[in-house]
């Protein structure tokens, strides 16, 4: 063996535990299976999407889940020209933070657009669901741009 050659051996990392998703994240994921999006109300009336069991600032327990719209606006975005092997998407796409109507915090997901020139902050997008949903963040295939009709 050459002295500068690195020894290598296969290593498969496993996580042999099952986790329960609990009353809030579990409800959100079940909502996705039913093709609806749930948020959770904070004490000040604002709505967290995706929801958490506690208020990230005050640590108060949160319980009141509310449905929000399936459309909203892009808060910020970047373009992925070459998706990574594990990525759910195999063609170029945008990654974005999307604030759904009725929500006060943005959700992280993909925007399925032709190219980066289509993207802009404030653009309207709506959910494109996968045909078969199973209660997973990937039930959302991505967000697609749409024009709001004025009529």
């Amino acid at each position: 063996m050459e002295s500068n050659e690195r020894l290598s051996a296969p290593l498969v990392l496993e996580y042999p535990f099952r986790r329960t998703t609990g009353p809030v994240i579990g409800a959100f994921l079940t909502g996705l299976r039913e093709k609806i999006v749930l948020g959770i109300k904070r004490q000040d009336g604002t709505v967290l999407v995706p929801p958490t069991e506690y208020d990230p600032e005050t640590s108060e327990t949160l319980t009141e889940m509310v449905e929000v719209a399936q459309q909203g606006e892009v808060i910020t975005w970047t373009w992925v020209q070459e998706p990574r092997p594990q990525s759910p998407w195999d063609s170029p796409h945008a990654l974005a933070m999307i604030k759904l109507e009725g929500a006060d915090t943005p959700l992280f997901h993909a925007v399925l657009a032709e190219g980066p020139e289509v993207l802009e902050v404030g653009m309207k997008v709506r959910i494109k669901w996968r045909e078969v949903t199973e209660g997973h963040i990937k039930d959302i295939e991505g967000f697609v741009p749409f024009e709001e009709s004025n009529g």
């Binding site: 994921l29 992925v80 990574r84 990937k138």
Partner: protein, 346 residues
């Protein structure tokens, strides 16, 4: 811990440091750490049996093995038995734990080290696993894309400008000229390659000592006059990404504003982070440049502790009297630690 209170606390100084970073290291973690740990012990004349406490920082996710730090203890020599601890965090947090141990009054000397060797695997995969496990990690975004989302918010809201990014890239040495910066293609729109870190393998070892011991071990000890660490929400959707409140608070509590700072060592792996941290912590562009920049060589788990080592080196060589070191962990500056060091001169 507020600055005023720290002054009433036990004085602790950084008295020796050794570090090494390379893009790809063929040595194992133990082989990498032995010369560094030997160097700081030799420089201070301390034997492992003289050292009251040993604390390290590293990541099992990089090593691909549970309790991987136990093996690296072979670089220290754990026999006869030593008092030892570990954090699954950057070594800057191991230093914080050690500083608390000093305050408990039970030790006079300590060895703190940390290391990361990402080159054998995919660091981008490891960084994905630190994101929210239900909402974000299953989508496997790479770190540069996540940084780009924050960068666009900062640019759109006018908190930073493209010219400032170019100046920062020039200052941190990732481009030769401003023109070169703007000629670079976008790596993760709106970030260019010059805005993003180059990753490296590496490690760093430090010796800390109490006021009873420090002057014996070092000509000009770098006294820790303030240290604090704070955290923001994990899920980055609920945070205002154009701010870093935990960095602001940690700097205030560490007494950063109690006197002039001669040089700063920021754990900023992106130009956007350098600019945002300076705004949040009220720091000017320093007259004395950083000794090394994480954007040029970022070592997960060691970059933060390395900043403290570099801030101490500026005091030891007399180029600065009061320095600030910063460490960060988690996605998009989620957790921040600030350590202010003082040479005790005028």
């Amino acid at each position: 811990m507020c600055g005023e209170k720290v002054k009433q606390m036990r004085k602790v100084a950084v008295v020796a440091a050794a570090s090494r970073q390379e893009e790809k290291m063929l040595d194992t973690e133990v082989e990498m750490m032995i010369p560094l740990i030997t160097e700081v012990r030799t420089r201070t004349g301390l034997d492992q049996t003289d050292i009251g406490f040993t604390c390290s920082g590293s990541s099992d996710f990089l090593a691909g093995q549970a309790f991987s730090f136990v093996m690296t203890l072979d670089a220290v020599g754990p026999v006869p038995p030593i008092a030892e601890s570990h954090v699954e965090m950057d070594g800057a947090w191991a230093l914080y734990e050690t500083w608390v141990k000093f305050q408990m009054g039970v030790i006079d000397t300590a060895l703190v080290y940390s290391y990361g060797k990402p080159s054998p695997g995919s660091l981008q995969d490891v960084l994905s696993t630190q994101l929210d496990p239900y909402y974000v990690a299953p989508l496997w975004p790479d770190a540069h894309s996540v940084a780009a989302l924050q960068a666009r918010l900062l640019l759109e809201q006018g908190i930073i400008t493209p010219d400032e990014l170019a100046d920062c890239a020039l200052r941190t040495g990732t481009v030769e000229s401003r023109e070169d910066y703007f000629l670079q293609p976008l790596l993760a729109d709106p970030l260019r390659e010059a805005d993003c870190p180059t990753y490296a393998d590496g490690g760093v070892a430090l010796i800390l000592a109490s006021e009873e011991k420090a002057d014996e071990l070092c000509e000009r000890p770098a006294w820790i006059t303030g240290i604090d660490h704070r955290i923001d929400a994990h899920h980055f959707g609920v945070r205002d990404l154009t701010a870093a409140p935990s960095a602001r608070l940690a700097a205030k509590n560490a007494g950063a504003h109690d006197g002039p700072i001669d040089s700063t060592e920021l754990h900023a792996a992106y130009t956007t982070h350098d600019l945002l941290l300076r705004k949040e912590m009220g720091l000017d562009i320093p007259k004395i440049p950083q000794r090394s920049y994480p954007i040029q060589a970022d070592t997960l788990m060691a970059s933060g502790l390395l900043r403290i080592a570099e801030a101490a080196r500026s005091i030891w060589d007399g180029s600065a009297n009061r320095t600030l070191a910063h460490a960060t962990a988690g996605p998009l500056l989620q957790q921040n630690l600030v350590c202010v060091l003082d040479g005790g001169g005028d």
